[in-house]
């Protein structure tokens, strides 16, 4: 099943022409409405008229996460605030989130691409879809929700957590599709076994999992324990949220909805454009976004693109699972975490030194994060309640800045390895 055959199976020639028109229109639009882009284009010596087709895209300057931060919260919006109908946000490196806005049409477009994604996973109006992504500023919950409603499926907007309830509704409602992070899907699977629920009594048939990296082994494990076919969905808040790309039933990479999100692969060090098939940093230009169009946004995700036609009939390019990131961002339980966020929390607290080590692991398929922190000698107290109080204060500050909780381990000053160059701040044991 293909949701929108016109766009998903368009001849590539025609698609490139469409992308060209859309980029052309968008560059003119941001030049007129976003002072940041007008200045950036002027500095690069580019007039909107210079962009005549998709081949001119590579002449344009990049947009980075830092640009989003510098223009916090609404500086990159291309429409006045009354035209915004929704905000979403993801955590940023400095404690300030990355904010995105959506117009009515943006929400429509987003619902469309999620509807296309769900259709790839075989979802139809006959399905009951349990959306166990978090609802709120995070794009996962509401993104899947609107797309599922567009398909006409029956949505169970349960949000994340409360695993007992998840199991109960899977059983009682007969949910056929589960949408959540892969680690939560694995956890639900394990809980199912623990609660001794007979897998034959549940009706789940497919899962739409994303928002964090996962392996083929994990896919096999989830598929086995839940008795489903698991699909990978990709997206990022800055571009739209989930639904930037999605796997079809052949699972040979994720088809990017290129009529809206124009992908490029670049050399992360030089910015030079790389051909299909080569590994590099993924860059997106969400040309049709009204509220916050971005020019050549650098995702920091490393992957390859393939443009040969897929057996499913779609002509859209496919991106491989991301193999890593060109910066130090960690994705823990679906949340973006930058080591520098931890550092800023510790720097603000006089009782600790900014020496720390983040140990990320996966226990029972759930990501765990331990932060080892050196205590400041002069604040050492020989009373347990004082030290435990300190530990809890660090924990609370970390959790309010990062949006996820971490285990805090106090260690002796001087025991965390110092480095003359780039300090080793992270040990990731997850083998992703």
């Amino acid at each position: 099943m293909i949701w929108n055959e016109h766009y998903e199976c368009m001849e590539r020639e025609e698609l490139l022409k469409l992308q060209g028109e859309r980029v052309k229109e968008m560059v003119k639009r941001v030049y007129d409405t976003v002072p940041f882009y007008r200045q950036k284009l002027q500095e690069a010596g580019i007039e909107p008229g210079d962009i005549k087709g998709i081949e001119d895209l590579q002449k344009l300057p990049f947009t980075t996460k830092q640009d989003l931060r510098d223009n916090y919260p609404f500086g990159l919006f291309a429409v006045p605030q009354p035209d915004i109908v929704r905000f979403h946000a993801s955590s940023g490196t400095t404690g300030k989130p990355t904010v995105v806005g959506y117009t009515h049409n943006d929400i429509q477009m987003w619902s469309e691409v999620v509807a296309r994604s769900l259709t790839m996973a075989g979802v139809t109006k006959a399905d009951i879809i349990q959306v166990a992504y978090g609802y709120g500023l995070f794009t996962g919950g509401l993104g899947l929700h609107y797309g599922a409603e567009k398909v006409g499926a029956s949505v169970v907007p349960i949000s994340g957590g409360n695993t007992k309830k998840q199991l109960q509704l899977i059983e009682d409602f007969g949910s056929t599709v589960l949408a959540c992070t892969p680690s939560y899907a694995a956890f639900i699977g394990e809980s199912l076994v623990e609660e001794k629920i007979d897998p034959r009594k549940i009706k789940l048939k497919s899962g739409v999992f994303g928002a964090e990296p996962w392996t083929q082994e994990m896919r096999a494990q989830i598929e086995q324990v839940l008795g489903i076919k698991a699909y990978d969905i990709y997206g990022l808040t800055e571009i739209i949220g989930p639904g930037v790309s999605m796997e079809c039933q052949f699972q040979r990479g994720m088809h990017i909805f290129e009529d809206h999100f124009i992908p490029e692969i670049i050399n992360p060090d030089t910015g030079e454009l790389l051909p299909y098939g080569e590994l590099g940093e993924l860059v997106f230009t969400p040309a049709t976004k009204e509220a916050m169009p971005l020019i050549r946004y650098r995702t920091r995700d490393l992957t390859r693109l393939h443009a040969d036609k897929c057996q499913c009939g779609r002509t859209l390019v496919r991106m491989e699972k991301c193999v890593g990131r060109s910066d130090d961002m960690l994705i823990i339980r679906g949340v973006n975490v930058f080591p520098s966020q931890v550092e800023s929390v510790l720097l603000e607290m006089s009782e600790t030194k900014p020496h720390y080590l983040i140990v990320v692991d996966r226990e029972n398929n759930l990501d765990t994060m331990e932060i080892q922190v050196e205590i400041e000698e002069e604040f050492f107290s020989d009373e347990v309640k004082e030290l435990e109080g300190l530990r809890h204060r660090i924990k609370a500050n970390i959790s309010s800045t990062l949006g996820i909780s971490a285990t805090i381990r106090l260690v002796e000053p001087g025991t965390i390895e110092r480095s003359m160059g780039k300090a080793k701040r992270v040990i990731d044991k997850r083998n992703l």
Binding site: L387, V411, E412, G414, T415
Partner: protein, 142 residues
């Protein structure tokens, strides 16, 4: 009447305590009494030693996190009811104890090391009740 206790932050790592006792032995510092408060990740070692300033200095040089804390040493009789009698006096006077540990010194007496918010109040109360207190000079002989 106030005596100096050495407090050391110790991570729960094999060999860490042995390293510390080695340093004290090398510097000819005697440990008269000690206790360890432990949590899952770390412990706090509290010790009464001869020459606490020197001990703190040598341990710091070796990278330990050390603090000198004021405590009171209360001498009680080493027989049933001895501790109870002393604690009764303290609680009757509403003094809160942060932590304490004890060691027997000979057949007839025991010493209880006490850390409290208001050490002076404990001292006053105990002296009022004619309880014997450890003096700094006594420590080496403990």
């Amino acid at each position: 009447m106030i005596i100096k206790q050495l407090s050391v932050f110790l991570e729960n790592k094999t060999g860490r305590l042995t390293e510390l006792t080695g340093i004290l032995a090398d510097n000819d510092i005697n440990i008269s009494a000690f206790s360890i408060a432990d949590t899952a990740d770390y412990g706090i070692l509290r010790m009464i030693v001869g020459r606490p300033e020197l001990a703190a200095q040598v341990l710091k040089e070796k990278g330990f996190t050390v603090k000198i804390t004021d405590v009171v040493g209360m001498i009680i009789s080493n027989r049933p009811g001895g501790l109870h009698k002393a604690l009764q006096i303290i609680s009757d006077n509403n003094v809160a104890i942060e932590y304490m540990y004890a060691f027997a010194s000979g057949e007839s007496k025991a010493t209880v090391v006490i850390r409290a918010d208001s050490l002076q109040k404990i001292i006053d109360v105990l002296q009022e009740h004619k309880m014997e207190l450890l003096k700094e000079g006594d420590v080496i002989q403990v």
